[in-house]
Structure formats: structure tokens, C-alpha cells
């Protein structure tokens, strides 16, 4: 019955979405082939190049700057994302624009602890285990601590991936992790490969966000989940003014002091202002084909987690 309902829903759903896509005002596009780079207008080819240079320049200090700029709150945001994802062991995650691997490491920690809890619960419920069975369960925990979960970290910038890989070696993450250079607008993966697709603070830097959303839809398995953690519009007007003050007066200065790079951080705070607000981005995700699209504001809308399902 569900199969019969689905085509009707798809037919009814798709037409208004297509019309909405035509009606949506072009956000900051001066002319055809032009796009925004922060508050500047650049050609589309140039934008990719400039974004690459920004992240190449900030790669080594990226984590330090994240901590200083957000006063460590970005860790909470990323933890909330993982709790929302609630992955079970065996999940295949694709983390796009995952750069230094924050989401990937959290994912591995999460499934590892879920797995440990699973094994412990299994042991507890078995009464009268033989010594062989107990030894086997220890073996299982040693051999498959992640339960076949895997995460592929995909980023267009090799410098960010190198920093991430070094961090992984330093923190002792070895298995279940892959580092791949790839373009989010043209992913090198087959159709329907991943259970979850995440993009965390990366999608606003893309030249064609709609292409990335279409690619996300393509590589997700049916039932797969799309999760996007991104800066968004603040709901509270007073907080919004304080946030603007902080963004434009303090963050570039921090960038100059800590990373020696004023312009990159100027671009980063400007790009936040150029990103569509929550509702508009939700419509873009729906246009790509995702269903049950929803968003959750964190810290009064400074960031938002958008979630959609491929059904």
C-alpha cells in the first residue's frame, strides 16, 4: 500500500517544488555566471579557486580558530549533530567538506560506545555462559569494535584532509576511516552507497549548493538521511546585533592574531551572511528530492541543523 501511495505523493509533491525553484529570487547573483564570495561578486570559476585558497591558508589553524571564535561552543553543536544522527554500528557515513575530521571522530566514538553497550547488554542477558562463549564475546569486541561502521571524509581541499589525517593518527583513530579528495558537486561515489550524509560548516562555501544537494540525494541509500550543520539566521533581534558586532569586529581580528589571516576570516563571516535562511534552505533541500525536511535552531539560530530523508 505504501508503494501505491508513494508515486502519488511524488507526483503531487514535485510540481509545486519545481515552481518554487523558478520563483525563488536569485540570492546575490549579479549576472549569469556570477556569484558571491563573501560580500564581493566574482565569477563562478573564480569562487572555487578563492575558497580553496582560503581553506588552504587556514587549514593548520582551523581547529584553534574554531575554538577561539565560538568559545568552544562548536564542539557542543557537533555533539548535538551526532546525537541527532544517533548512528547504530554498521552505519556508512559520508562526511562531505569534512576537512579536519571533527564529525568523523565523533561518529567513531559514538558507534564504538554504542557497540560496547550492545555487547555488554548481550552478555548480561545470557545466563549460564560457558567459558568458551565468554571468550568469544571478548574476541568479538576486539575484532569488531566499530561493528563494521565506516566513515568516508571527503573534502576538496587536500590541506584540510592532511590536517585531519594527522589528527587521526595523533588521537589514535585507525580503522573505519577514509580520507578522499572529492568535489561535493560531483562526488566520486556510486548511487545509493551511504546511510548518512553530513556536511558541517561546508555547504555555504560551495559554488552550486543545489548540485551538492542533488549529489547528496544520489549517493544516499533509500531511507538514508541528509544532515547539514550550518550557520544560519539568528532569530532574536538583540542577539542578532551583538552577533553581527562580534562577527565583523572581533573575528577577523582574532584571525589576524591567531592565524595571521584577516581576509580569510573576513570571508568566512561574510559567507555566513550570504547563506540562505532556515526556511529557504529547507526548500532547497526539498527541491533535491528529500522528504520530511526539518531544521533545528541551536544557540538561537546562530547555527541550524537541517535534516532530510531519502524515502
Amino acid at each position: 500500500m505504501a508503494a501505491a501511495l508513494c508515486p502519488c505523493r511524488a507526483l503531487l509533491g514535485r510540481r509545486p517544488r519545481a515552481l518554487r525553484a523558478l520563483a525563488r529570487p536569485a540570492r546575490g547573483l549579479a549576472a549569469h555566471g556570477q556569484t558571491h564570495f563573501g560580500f564581493q561578486t566574482v565569477s563562478e570559476e573564480e569562487k572555487g579557486e578563492k575558497v580553496y585558497q582560503v581553506f588552504e591558508s587556514v587549514a593548520k589553524k582551523y581547529d584553534v580558530m574554531n575554538d577561539s571564535m565560538s568559545l568552544g561552543i562548536h564542539r557542543v553543536w557537533k555533539d548535538v549533530l551526532l546525537h541527532k544522527m544517533n548512528p547504530c554500528p554498521g552505519t556508512l557515513l559520508l562526511d562531505v567538506a569534512g576537512g579536519t575530521g571533527d564529525i568523523a571522530f565523533r561518529f567513531i566514538n559514538y558507534v564504538r560506545s554504542v557497540r560496547e553497550r550492545q555487547l555488554r547488554r548481550k552478555l548480561k542477558h545470557h545466563q549460564n555462559l560457558s567459558w568458551q562463549e565468554i571468550a568469544d564475546s571478548y574476541q568479538e569486541e576486539a575484532v569488531k569494535p566499530l561493528g563494521d561502521s565506516q566513515v568516508v571524509v571527503c573534502d576538496i581541499n587536500k590541506e584540510m584532509l592532511k590536517v585531519g589525517r594527522q589528527k587521526a593518527e595523533h588521537l589514535g583513530y585507525s580503522e573505519g576511516l577514509s580520507w578522499v579528495v572529492g568535489n561535493a558537486e560531483e562526488l566520486p561515489f556510486g548511487d545509493e552507497k551511504f546511510d548518512v550524509y553530513t556536511v558541517s560548516f561546508g555547504i555555504r562555501n560551495l559554488t552550486h549548493i543545489d548540485l551538492a544537494l542533488q549529489e547528496a540525494y544520489r549517493v544516499l541509500k533509500p531511507g538514508g538521511r541528509f544532515l547539514c550543520l550550518e550557520f544560519s539566521q539568528v532569530t532574536n533581534p538583540l542577539l542578532s546585533r551583538l552577533y553581527d558586532l562580534y562577527s565583523f569586529q572581533i573575528i577577523p581580528v582574532l584571525g589576524e592574531i591567531i592565524a595571521g589571516d584577516w581576509k580569510s576570516y573576513q570571508y568566512l563571516v561574510e559567507s555566513i551572511r550570504r547563506f540562505p535562511p532556515q526556511e529557504e534552505f529547507k526548500e532547497m533541500i526539498e527541491d533535491a528530492g528529500f522528504l520530511k525536511v526539518d531544521y533545528q535552531n541551536l544557540t538561537s539560530g546562530i547555527v541550524a541543523i537541517h535534516s532530510g530523508f531519502k524515502l
Binding site: 569486541e141 589514535g172 577514509s178 578522499v180 568535489n183 556510486g190 552507497k193
Partner: protein, 113 residues
């Protein structure tokens, strides 16, 4: 759920459990370090359509259910997907899977099982 977790941690098998986990983690790290080169990346990542090389999407026949995992060619330091006939360079252990970076190699379609 948390009382159960804390109970298990501080309770009966506290000492031996943490010791066992430490041993397991050390073993995993040891085997992981050996496989840290792209072999593991190749096994985990399945390469699909590289749109930049192929003709328009309508002309591509629907690929089989699971394309074979690409393999790492140590001689040329490339990740080769024979089925699609493309090879991606691997630099510093990280494959560059961009359409512009791919190189065409003689394609060998998957054998029918």
C-alpha cells in the same frame, strides 16, 4: 540507561574490562597502522560514475548493482576502477577523486556471477 552504564563501569568487572579494552585498542591500532595506506581506503570506497568523463547521463547504461571496489595500483600510485576505466592519482595516501584528476585506463567490465 545511564544507571546501567555507570553500574557496569564501576561494578564487578571494572579492572579487567578496562585492561581488556586497552589491549584491544592497542591491537586495533597496530593492525590499523599497517593498513593505513590506501589499500584500506580502496576497500572502503566504491567508485561510481565520473560524470566529467562519461557522455551525457542519459546515454550511460544503468550500472550493475555494486561496481567492484577499486584497487590500489602501487606501481603508478593510483586507485584504479577497471569497470569504469578510470584511475585516480593517490598523493600522500589520499586519493584525489576529482573528475579532472582522473585518467582513462582500458576498461574491463565486471564478470557476470
Amino acid at each position: 540507561r545511564s544507571p546501567e552504564r555507570s553500574g557496569a563501569r564501576t561494578g564487578r568487572r571494572g579492572g579487567s574490562r578496562s585492561g581488556r579494552r586497552h589491549v584491544a585498542r592497542r591491537a586495533a591500532r597496530g593492525s590499523g597502522a599497517a593498513a593505513a595506506e590506501p589499500e584500506s581506503a580502496a576497500a572502503e570506497v566504491s567508485v561510481g560514475r565520473a560524470r566529467g568523463l562519461a557522455p551525457s547521463p542519459i546515454a550511460i547504461p544503468t550500472p550493475p548493482a555494486l561496481p567492484r571496489s577499486p584497487r590500489y595500483e602501487a606501481a603508478t600510485q593510483e586507485l584504479v576502477n577497471e569497470e569504469l576505466g578510470i584511475a585516480y592519482p593517490v598523493v600522500d595516501g589520499i586519493p584525489t577523486m576529482l573528475p579532472e584528476a582522473a585518467r582513462k585506463v582500458p576498461a574491463r567490465p565486471a564478470e557476470q556471477h
